[in-house]
Amino acid sequence: MRWTRLSLPTLAFLSAPLAAQTELAPPRDYALTNVRIVIAPGRVVEQGTVLVRNGRIAAAGAAVTVPPGVAVLDLTGLTVYPGLIDAANSVGLPRVVAEGRGGRGAAPAAAAAGPSQPPPELNPGRAAADVFAATEGDLDGLRSAGITTVGLAFDGGIFPGRVSAVNLTGGDVAGMVVKSPVAQQVALGQRRGGYPSTGMGAIAYVRQSFWDAQWDQRAAEAFQGNPAAAQRPGYDPEHRALQPAATGAMPVWYAATSERDLRRIIGLAAETGVRDYVLVGAQEGYRTVDALKAAARPVIVGLSYPGLDRVSGRAFELHVAPISGTDPAGAEADSVVARALRANAATLAAAGIAIAFSGQGLTPAQFRLGIAGVIEAGLPADEALRAATLTPARLLGLEAALGSVEPGKLANLVVVQGDIFSRDAKIRHVFIEGLRFDIPEAAERGAGGRSGRGGGEGGGAAAGEWVGEMEGPNGTMSFTLTLRAEGSALTGQLVTEMGPVELRGEQDGAEVSLRGTATPPGMNAIEIAITASISENQLQGTLDAAGMATVPFNARRRGPGIPAPQPSETRTTGTGGRP
């Protein structure tokens, strides 16, 4: 809880000018004494003082003189660390994939956004900071996990926007932004209602767009140099926005999870002449070490791992798994994959690849505990701290300002009882640019929303009846999903116009995973895998039809006032599976 907030109920009864005055001048001068100081990975002062003046670190060490007038906090028995940085997280950002009906029959997202607005999937000029709207609850949750800075990065899309860096001080957004833009984001997502609507289309689109941006610049320069003879260049806002990234003036952050997407991205970067880039996610990086080493680019490792059935190479084994009963061999094989995923960051670091961490898709507490898991899987603790402080600071272009407890840097600090990445550590205080936040006991666990899922609390029972639409490559299809729960285990049925599919799976917090086998009339059996997140009465996720397509879907809990779906009003019959 930020100290100024404590008095807010009282302040509300006072005059506005007084409240404003109080808000304007919170103290940013502290002396943290008798504290163990982790200045940077491998640099520890067992007992010393950190002096914070005007929001910056003035001194840190064993022999620091505290000037008069500075508030002294005796932190005996505690450790102060540099503030943690979540290098890539969409907390407080709008969804890239818009709400509502999709498919070819639907209005493109661009039309929904307004006549002059680009579709959210293709909006490279948009900086995350400009659309950032985290709640105080979001910020409290992040700070409670020791996170002081976030690299705001959109989740999904193709050119969803640009990364911004914010310090989690709260208050107005402008005051939180430390750097914007940081980098151009690129992902191999799908666009609704227009080209490119597939991953393979996105690859072609990204390639063409980068070439276009480079060509635009060349044409503009030629026109500047010789307006009398050179062709007057046109203006395309998308290409103009991509120009800094396409010409090396701004780094590119490419999102990719799977082994094959990582290899595709590395190839695409080389093809389009992009050298200054970072890979984000890279959950299957351990399968791609050769290519990542050769590319020698930093990796922001996502700590939210894909479902084991989605990991490359696992599909074939699962295809022949017994459909009922226990499967000890399968469980063991799963744990091999699970271990490899958890050791991903360690594997990359051991190969000499610079890593940072991303809590995308996780709660803040899960982010910190995820790092604990990475250490348990073999990453040296110092390397983990580096990946949560100095390296992300560098990737955000803020290495001079953030990432260590050194004089001159912004006073972003975490005071912890215990080792910061131990599972029983207690975050006690957080300082962000010298502003003090005291973390109440037990605030850490479960606090804050899951990022990238609308910032809501997440969760809710999966059991019940859901109605929704999925957006296949060939149009929108309505469905009904009925689920029964027994503990965390789920059973149920998915009904579409293709017929019913029996499902079984489980719920883990807000996450639901289900699988089953569809047998559409006249077609081969298709393995279906559903992963989704529940937010109260919304269920959002993807359905993977093995070997054919991954389609996003949205569903609503059926209840009073929620009408049953109309039978396929605008469905366009596709050609998949039909010669």
């Binding site: 080209y195 490119p196 044409a219 490559p473 060939n474 397509a549």
Partner: protein, 435 residues
């Protein structure tokens, strides 16, 4: 000539960047005492096929097997070239149809290595295939010719040196004849007339694009400061099609649309390499042969929609007899396991010779894929892609015992990961066995 696109698929680029993982040394192997169906050089009883370094080193009845070469006893067995499927959608991810627009030749299919269809294909003696876009678009995009190198990373599936291939489509799928969407939501073209017109519009654009580059290259000789025209991947792909650098495989059914597409191609100076499905090909077999188009069809699949109604099982035999190079394809993860049974129907319907029927799953699809110099027959110097059957492949009870790709046994019924064995003890194919 315009050559800036580097004329390679992204997959190849990825492979070049990533570097191929060291491949296991090819095992030298000899198959002895087998009946060898060479396809190009007759049938050899009690023959031997010697494989060295992944290539066929010798074939004949009296081949000496050098010391140190592993011997497979082929007594009672039949050896044929690895079966080639000219139409599948196996091993793809990232979408099959880029259905947002009707002409997207710049979109290249993306491969995945963990599609079990590859393994099942091997179990049916199939060693290579053309993995194509779907048929939602007039020009869908570029497909991938792959070898079924099960267990290797996706980029190593690519049939190295094989030509680029683009999928066209005609008729009901492209015009969305069965769509229930409201009229205003439907995409151009809505009719076969529209498909004709759209093709002509795009190839006219491509000609103009090529002209703009030629004009630039001419002018750039005098003025080096000139800015080149904008690179357009889509138009460049169309230019490459016109120049024959990308081979056209066209999904088609009706005789009229087949004739239409050949006219369009001839008007713009290129050739349709292969008509796919081509169920009414028997009506225009002479025209196909004259154009130089090949045909890849089904043996006995028809009447699944209106445009597939007027088909006959003699289609393969009639087109063959009229001089068209004919293959029979799977278009399915199921039929890809038993293409030899499909080919056998060429003998049943229309009386094709045994060797001509076998050609429909070996040498002929190899020609259609532009890889006949590498695969499709058992000849010295060709890739050692071989299928070993326990009887004649056309005998109903025969099954594949071993399948070799590049001289390596990738399917072996003795040690196979059959469903039964997998259920007993699940060997892991995921994380550990990848270096």
């Amino acid at each position: 000539m315009i050559r800036f696109t580097r004329a390679v698929s992204p997959l190849v680029v990825v492979a070049a960047v990533a570097g191929f993982a060291a491949r296991a040394a090819a095992q030298d192997v000899a198959i002895r005492n087998a009946t060898v169906l060479t396809i190009s050089g007759g049938t050899i009883e009690n023959g031997t096929v010697l494989v060295r370094n992944g290539k066929i080193a010798a074939v004949g009845a009296s081949v000496q097997v050098p010391a140190g070469v592993q011997v497979i006893d082929g007594t009672g067995m039949y050896v044929m070239p690895g079966i080639i499927d000219a139409h599948s959608h196996a091993a793809l991810e990232g979408g099959i149809n880029e259905g947002s627009e009707s002409v997207t030749p710049e979109v290249v299919v993306q491969l995945r290595d963990d599609d079990e269809t590859i393994y099942r294909a091997l179990a049916g003696g199939s060693t290579a295939s053309l993995s194509l876009h779907g048929s939602a678009n007039t020009i869908g995009g570029q497909g991938a010719i792959i070898k079924h190198r099960w267990g290797r990373p996706a980029e190593e599936l690519v049939f190295e040196g094989a030509p680029r291939i683009v999928k066209f489509a005609l008729g009901e799928n492209v015009t969305r004849a069965s769509s229930t969407a409201a009229d205003e939501d439907r995409r151009y073209p809505k009719s076969r007339m529209g498909v004709d017109q759209l093709l002509r519009w795009w190839f006219t654009q491509a000609k103009e694009y090529e002209q703009s580059w030629k004009a630039y290259q001419e002018a750039a000789k005098r003025d080096r400061t000139l800015v080149p025209p904008r690179k357009d991947l889509r138009l460049q792909a169309l230019v490459d099609i016109v120049h024959g650098d990308i081979l056209v495989h066209a999904h088609s059914y009706r005789a009229d649309e087949i004739l239409m597409l050949m006219r369009v191609a001839e008007d713009f100076g290129f050739r349709i390499n292969t008509f796919q499905h081509v169920l009414e090909g028997y009506k225009v077999a002479d025209e196909l042969a004259k154009h130089g188009a090949m045909a890849s069809t089904f043996a006995e699949m028809w009447a699944y929609k209106v445009e597939a109604a007027d088909a006959i099982p003699h289609n393969m035999a009639i087109m063959s007899a009229r001089g068209v190079v004919v293959s029979v394809n799977s278009d399915s993860g199921e039929r890809i396991r038993r293409l030899y049974q499909e080919a056998a129907m060429g003998m049943k319907y229309g009386g094709m010779s045994e060797n001509d029927a076998l050609k429909m799953i070996t040498l002929n699809p190899a020609k259609q894929l532009g890889v006949a110099d590498r695969v499709g027959s058992i000849e010295v110097g060709k890739d050692a892609d071989l299928a070993i059957f326990n009887g004649h492949p056309f005998a109903p009870a025969s099954r594949v015992e071993k399948t070799l790709v590049d001289g390596k046994v990738l399917f072996d019924r003795e040690t196979a990961m059959t469903l039964e064995k997998l259920l007993q003890s699940r060997p892991r194919t995921t994380t550990e066995d990848r270096p």
